[in-house]
Amino acid sequence: MNWHRIIAVSHKEWREIVRDKVFFALAFLVPVSMMILLGYGLSLDVEGIPLAILDDDHSSASREYAYRFIGSRYFDFRGYVDSERDLNELLTDNRIRAAVIIPPDFEKNLLSAKAVAVQTLIDGTFPFRAQTTKGYVIAINAAANMDMLAGHLSKILGTSEENIRRQLQPVRLETRYLYNQSLKSIWSLAPKLIMLILMISPPFLTALGVVREKESGSIYNIYVSTVSRAEFLVGKLFPYVAISMVNAAVLFLLATALFGAPFKGSVSIFFLATLLYVVCTTGIGLLVSVFVRTQIAAMIVASIVTLVPAVLYSGVLIPIFSLETTARIIAHLLPAMYYTNIVTACFMKGTGIGYFWLDVLILAGYAALLMGFGYALFRKRTAT
């Protein structure tokens, strides 16, 4: 390996990137815009679920019960309807996601101390939202039952409602939220977005950069030159790693300054791990470029092999322990999961390198492996 040649290749690549001003600008604009849009838009908090109510009882008890839903910030009340058919249509047309049907004789049954079934309809197209909505319904019902039971029993037993209430809930659960006391979803999301964006952007840049030369034929200049494979690859990848590291720094600033995510770990260790991760993702781009001949194919392959696994198998939305066996194996085979562990440790937990050195080591191994494969498969000639 001759450093002069590497620098020459890097310099040439850099000039090529900079000369295409639009491409150069986009290389920085894409990660930033993704961070801002996803940071504000990608929320899994389920609130303001549009809801309609069918009240067949028209009593004060039914109104009071309905108001528990209307007044809740988890639901967005869209009005009363007159028939089940209306509810049906509203649900099918996505105008509401949940409906409550209060039966006739609601008040009468309750006053005579009987059980009464209230039906709720929930739109199940988005299972996560349905699950959460169901949770809210159960909680609202439980609160209503508790109030009623306390009132009823205090009359029978002749003690105060407060006393009954305390007796009805003999176990108190004291919860401590660790690492994210206020449960701010952006705090846990913003750092993981760094992982996600650095998985999408560098492979794209790199694959395009290498395949561009293949497609335009300018790579023949390299084939006939004295530059060795290794020198070419290192020189070629260096500018992309550099651009991605600048992007990583910008993303880090956006996460901490714009979204206010706490950073509790060591900045230098974090950026060292980030460098390893960026080398990995750049390496994925290199590997993609070895297999494809055209830039269109490079774009398609790069986006498909990175985007889906990075969202699904990295722990950004779904914890690794929740995945099924095959998915969990895939997760362990990809670098994203290890970097997510590091990001979580550095941002949220503030644990030292002692807790995640293995993840760093695996990333380093991964980087070496990818570069090795890229080197082995890259030929200084093409089949065509």
Binding site: T92, G124, T125, Q169, P170, E174, F291
Partner: protein
């Protein structure tokens, strides 16, 4: 002579159609030669959708729970026993050392640690409120919140059951109590099968990606190589240059979509296709055309394929994430929801899920289809106009 020939071509629909045919054939031929691209198109519509749909769930599953039990009573054991799959997975008991608990949480090996005090059963029997401590890893806030609310429900139910037996004995065993029974029904996907949701979402995502990228790339490639010059001096109108690209790519996408529906969605995941398939394909065609207009617009701005790639990501990711496909639109901030209404993908997702899962027809979906058509017309029109301006007619 030349002018006369062109004049006749414009007025002879047979020649017009034959040119369209030849140009479309050329696009297919070009695609056929890029076999790596073809393989990945097939991969995207099959294996990729299978991967996204299988084994992935946003719901809380198997949250790893450790506990310390200083009481070692029947009551404490019964309570721990209530933390069951699918939501929880009791991984084991740890000694009273609080540092061990923190270490498990720090390393991410535990998500929940319960701590049951020494006098739990005694307090429960005397009615003095018994306390349990719970520590939850909320570095994933959504999952942490879910774990917390499930745990609270389990503990509350447990406590109420214990209390009721006692209070009933006190109240003379009166069986009748006023109570609201929660009878909830989940429609369209009764078992909240994540596979259906994920696979449909992924299919719609792939369709969107290809319908922006493929036409834009096909156009810019000609620009980059200079072959567009040859096309421009041929007796072809700019529409005849552009339209075959959209046509061929739309065909490819529709075939991919059909394969995916038959093999993966219906074949493997048993997604109940409740609505009309012809309607679904009609709407998909409309959507692909409108999004292709966006791709053409990009192709008029971009000078080379690398720019196309970056611009596509720039347009595609917000479109995808702001469509309500991955996250509930209700949770978005107001301004973002407003932007969402300008994205054709939002309406495509509503109609797609509406037809496939809800069995909705034109009678219900007409307004979404109309808005999508108008948006699409505008996007395609602007793309076409810019293309004409750039290449002349």
């Amino acid at each position: 002579m030349m002018q006369k020939w062109m004049f006749s071509a414009m007025h002879n629909p047979m020649i017009w159609l034959r040119r369209l045919h030849v140009m479309t054939f050329k696009e297919f031929l070009q695609l056929k030669r890029d076999w790596m691209l073809l393989i990945f198109i097939v991969y995207a519509f099959t294996a990729d959708i299978y991967l996204a749909g299988s084994g992935v769930s946003l719901q809380l599953r198997e949250a790893v729970l450790y506990f310390t039990d200083q009481d070692k009573s029947v009551s404490s054991r019964e309570l721990v026993y209530r933390f069951q799959p699918p939501n929880f997975h009791v991984a084991g008991e740890i000694s009273e050392n609080p540092r061990k608990a923190l270490q498990l949480l720090d390393e991410g090996d535990a998500m929940v640690v319960l701590d049951i005090g020494a006098d739990f059963e005694k307090e429960l029997i005397t009615g003095a409120s018994a306390r349990i401590q719970m520590q939850i890893d909320t570095s994933n806030s959504v999952q942490g919140f879910l774990a917390s609310s499930y745990a609270q429900r389990i503990v509350a139910d447990y406590g109420t059951e214990k209390a009721m037996t006692r209070l009933k004995a006190l109240g003379g065993g009166s069986a009748s109590l006023p109570r609201i029974i929660d009878d909830h029904r989940v429609w369209f996907n009764a078992n909240q099968n994540d596979t259906w949701f994920m696979s449909i979402t992924e299919l719609l995502t792939i369709i969107t990606l290809f319908s922006v990228l493929l036409p834009a790339a096909a156009m810019v490639r000609e620009k980059e190589r200079g072959t567009v010059e040859q096309l421009l001096v041929s007796p072809l109108s700019s529409f005849q240059i552009m339209f075959p690209k959209v046509l061929s790519m739309t065909t490819v996408i529709l075939i991919g979509c059909a394969i995916s529906l038959a093999l993966v969605l219906k074949g493997i995941f048993h997604v109940p296709i409740r609505g009309s398939l012809p309607l679904f394909f009609a709407i998909t065609t409309l959507f692909v055309f409108t999004t292709a207009g966006l791709g053409l617009f990009i192709s008029t701005i971009a000078r080379n394929l690398a720019q196309v790639g970056m611009m596509t990501i720039l347009v595609f990711t917000p479109m995808l994430f702001l469509s309500g496909a991955w996250t509930p639109p209700e949770a978005m901030p107001f301004w973002m929801r407003t932007v969402m209404y300008a994205s054709p993908l939002h309406y495509y997702i509503d109609t797609g899920f509406g037809i496939l899962l809800k069995g909705a027809g034109v009678d219900i979906l007409w307004d979404e289809i109309l808005i999508m058509g108008i948006l699409g017309g505008v996007i395609f029109g602007v793309g076409m106009a810019r293309f004409r301006k750039q290449f002349g007619n």
